[in-house]
Symmetry: C2
DNA sequence: GTTTCTGCAAATCATTTGCACCTGA
DNA sequence: TCAGGTGCAAATGATTTGCAGAAAC
């Protein structure tokens, strides 16, 4: 299993270009605009796998275009979240964290020592969900779950 | 099961007075001082069950003594955490959150709708720990686990 | 021509830090 | 005495907001 998110280098997602291409139309369907700034953020997101903080995204956008304004990025993230294109949760440090194109609901594992992060697989997640569902009828929102601990390598 | 923390009214913990009384000595053993400000925070903590944010504690201290200074509270919390008297994690909103006198390592459940919070029981926690341990050798730090979802009542 | 954005600057807000003065042991 | 603490004020740093002008459709 590969770590995801900031500790690991981002990988391109050319296989998802079709999905990203539809963003423009999805915006328009709702009477929203397809602006250069939004295009830029979507371009950055399309190169991103796993999860990133808002500040990360601001920085990556700024690498492409130094004139990027943070508030625009955050506002665009809000819009993209409404479209279901990103989703936000919280990292182990309590920092806001966005994850991209949630193919499936998943939580995150975060190693306290090396800082690497992994996605919790569907099976692992199912076990957690089932436990709390059975014990007290609690409906877990897996996409907000972040579990901290130490990974195999660091133990 | 009763909700814990801010959404529920705090209950006194007179049964733990002995444990709180030892704080003074525990500080002195390390060459640290027992000051009025620390006494005040410990008094507030002894009236607290479950988890609270740092800002909450500052406010509660200020109710007792309006001259309370936030930085002193935070610094004292750091010290108390080193003594193992409180422990900090993060709430579903990413806010710093302290929990008090962790009798046992436990995580938290947080209802997205009503905002109530519960402790994850030892058995439930064990199930989660075991799942991730078996699947990938990951050592979960239960005290940092906060799971968001919807409680039975809100579904 | 509207309605939605953007840029900018200023505001939040919990938490942290630097530093000179105070105080508990 | 003197290391450890406190008060105060200013710094942080991510995220948000108000608003006037700019751009998309």
């Amino acid at each position: 299993m590969q770590p995801v998110g900031s500790p690991a280098p981002s990988e391109s997602r050319s296989d998802d270009l079709a999905a990203w291409g539809s963003v423009r139309d999805r915006l328009r369907e709702r009477g929203l605009r397809w602006t250069p700034q939004r295009r830029a953020l979507v371009a950055v997101l399309s190169q991103t796998r796993g999860h990133v903080t808002g500040a990360d995204l601001v920085e990556r956008c700024r690498e492409q275009d130094p004139s990027t304004i943070p508030s625009t990025v955050y506002r665009t993230l809000d819009v993209l979240e409404e479209l279901g294109i990103v989703r936000h949760g919280h990292g182990p440090d309590g920092r806001e964290e966005y994850h991209v194109l949630p193919d499936a609901e998943h939580g995150h594992l975060h190693c306290r020592d090396c800082g690497a992060a992994w996605e919790i697989t569907a099976e692992e997640g199912a076990s957690i969900v089932a436990t709390l569902e059975a014990a007290r009828g609690f409906a877990v929102d897996l996409s907000h779950v972040t579990i901290v601990g130490r990974c195999r390598a660091c133990r």
